[in-house]
Amino acid sequence: MAQEEQSSRSIYTDLDDGGSDEEIDKWQRTFRLWRETLREHWGMLTDELSVKLSMLTVAGFMLIAIFAPFIATHQPLQRQYQGEAGIIIEDWAEPSLLGADTEYLLGTTAEGFDIFSQLIYGTRAALLVGLVAAIFTAGIGTLVGLVAGYYGGKVDDALMRIVDFLYGMPLLPTVIVLVAVLGPDLWNIILALIVLQWRSTARVIRSQSLSLRERPFVKAAEVAGAGDWHIISRHLAPNVLPMTFLYGSFGIAWAILAEAGISFIGLGDPNTVSWGTMLQASRAYSALSFGAWWWFVPPGICIGLLVISGFLIGRGYEEITNPKLQ
């Protein structure tokens, strides 16, 4: 396995500055170790073109999300005009990009919202869901996997039965039920996704740490009297970090897909604009039959772009950690 060679450097750094042990804080050393592993992988990752493009895409979306108020031309949830009935507007403005004589770049929805501004603000929801859910699923999964793999025995058994149970739950139906219980709110969707999705990271990290535990450097640390937490954080964690990041980047993609699906079904947060809620609204007003494609095509393209980027970054990382795939 390749990560042995790559991370072996980080393992030796631990030995190399054994002399200066007193001067540097324990935590600082742990973090430096993790940083070194990451820096090395970052260099290898950015070598590949598809990964580079994906990272640029994600960075682009991040900029859009941060500067959304400056890019958006209108308020995303403010009606631009009132219909005859005052509540529901039957007609919509065509996009000015297509030559229509309106002030709306991508036209307006049947409810009278500016589509371009919704698209821009939707980036925030997608990235928020993707990043928060991915950080927590990868983090919880790694921690559980490390603890289960390192301690083994009853601890391992108990934790893995929970994982088995979670594997028995269908993803979307479970999230739907959880959101129905907790209420349709963006944070509840994120929470529901986290509750379920840490299962895959935990399983993989556990099997990795099971084999790492038997390796000489861990045995050596044990003999030298290192504590459990010391071994987990300094000897096991840096070696499983590649896997954590792999599952983290896939996690971003999965979370964005799931949020879009949940919102599309109609359980999205009514007070937040997301690409999924845009698609749901367009379907509710049968934009399909009216041929108002500028309403439902752009959000899907955005979802696709962001998700493909997540998958490609993950895949690039997978090829580093497992050269057999190349």
């Binding site: 028995g168 739950m169 269908p170 039920v177 897909l257 599309f264 979802i303």
Partner: protein, 327 residues
């Protein structure tokens, strides 16, 4: 540990998982906000009649009594009656489950036939442009949300070109399900409705067997017996399909069983887009209208499909690959 004790242990685990899913579900539905009875009980009803109705659903009993009754019913596969239509939930499941299975299985057969073939070829022609483009296609297919592809297909082929029906499983006035399930499935009208959702799903599911088959082929191709085949002077195509692909097929079998389980569980979205009267769509509708018994019953069916197919995959692995040992 021998094979027999592995089977026993795995079966016990199956039962335990089913129990855990049922229990969590019971808890979740009791926590759900909103009075479920308000959907059955109309406001004109007298207080007395209302109480009697609530009583008849057993919603007044202490929680543990409800829980024990829930478990008893679960074992007897009795999921109660719908709050909404008063039909037994078992009937509702029996109506919708075949529809979901027809859709999923036809999508799966197409997806795995194409996916496996492309996977064999891309593993064989490793490093070629063909390989790179199939892998990128597979990744793209898995990245774009299925419901979105469904929307676009409906828009182009349904609304614009009028080639496919916009929703449902049968056209109005053709009798639908009243003529019996098999009769309905065998009509041209049904095939027309099936085509679009099945194709969209197949496009999505194709990527998984393709990628697995490709990496499995890469592993098999590096083994010695392939060199022996070459030395014997066998034709390239014979080596590719008869020797390499057959040995590379093993991971696909178990992956397919597990993936089918998740596909049935994930039927929610595609059925909603195409208004396909399947069990996933029925679950969503039941949750939205707080119809506990139906939501509970359909969820349990979806979850146990996954759990059961995972179980099958685990057992199949041991029988298909004699090298597997049980620890």
């Amino acid at each position: 540990m021998g094979k027999a004790s592995f089977v026993v242990r795995r079966t016990l685990q199956l039962v335990a998982t089913l129990w855990a899913v049922g229990t969590v579900l019971f808890g979740l539905f009791r926590l759900m906000p909103g009075d479920p009875t308000s959907y059955v009980v109309s406001s004109q009803m007298t207080q007395e009649a209302r109480q009697r109705l609530i009583e008849s659903y057993g919603l007044n009993d202490p929680l543990y009594v409800q829980y024990i009754r829930f478990l008893q019913n679960l074992v007897q596969l009795n999921f109660g009656q719908s709050f909404h239509s008063n039909q037994p939930v078992t009937d509702i499941i029996a109506t919708y489950m075949p529809n979901t299975l027809v859709l999923m299985l036809s999508a799966f057969v197409v997806a795995y036939a194409i996916g496996i073939t492309l996977g064999v070829l891309s593993g064989w022609y490793r490093g070629s442009r063909f390989e790179r483009s199939t892998v990128i296609t597979a990744l793209t297919a898995r990245s774009v949300p299925t419901f979105y592809v469904g929307l676009i297909v409906l828009w182009i082929f349904g609304a614009e070109l009028g080639l496919i029906p916009m929703s449902g499983m049968t056209s109005l006035g053709t009798g639908g399900q009243s003529t019996g399930f098999l009769d309905m499935v065998l009509t041209v009208d049904f095939l027309k409705h099936l085509m679009a959702p099945a194709a969209v799903l197949a496009f999505y599911y194709m990527g998984y067997p393709l990628l697995i088959m490709r990496s499995s082929m890469l592993e098999v191709l590096s083994e010695d017996f392939i060199d022996v085949c070459r030395a014997k002077g066998l034709k390239e195509r014979t080596i590719m399909f008869k020797h390499a692909a057959r040995n590379a097929l093993l991971p696909i079998v178990t992956a397919a069983a597990i993936a089918l389980g998740y596909a049935v569980g994930g039927s929610v979205l595609i059925e909603t887009v195409f208004a396909w009267p399947g069990i996933g769509r029925e679950m969503v509708r039941a949750v939205l209208r707080r119809d506990f018994p139906v939501a509970q019953g359909t969820f349990i069916v979806l979850a146990s499909t996954i759990i059961f197919l995972n179980f099958v995959a685990d057992l199949a692995y041991g029988y298909l690959d004699p090298r597997v040992t049980y620890d």
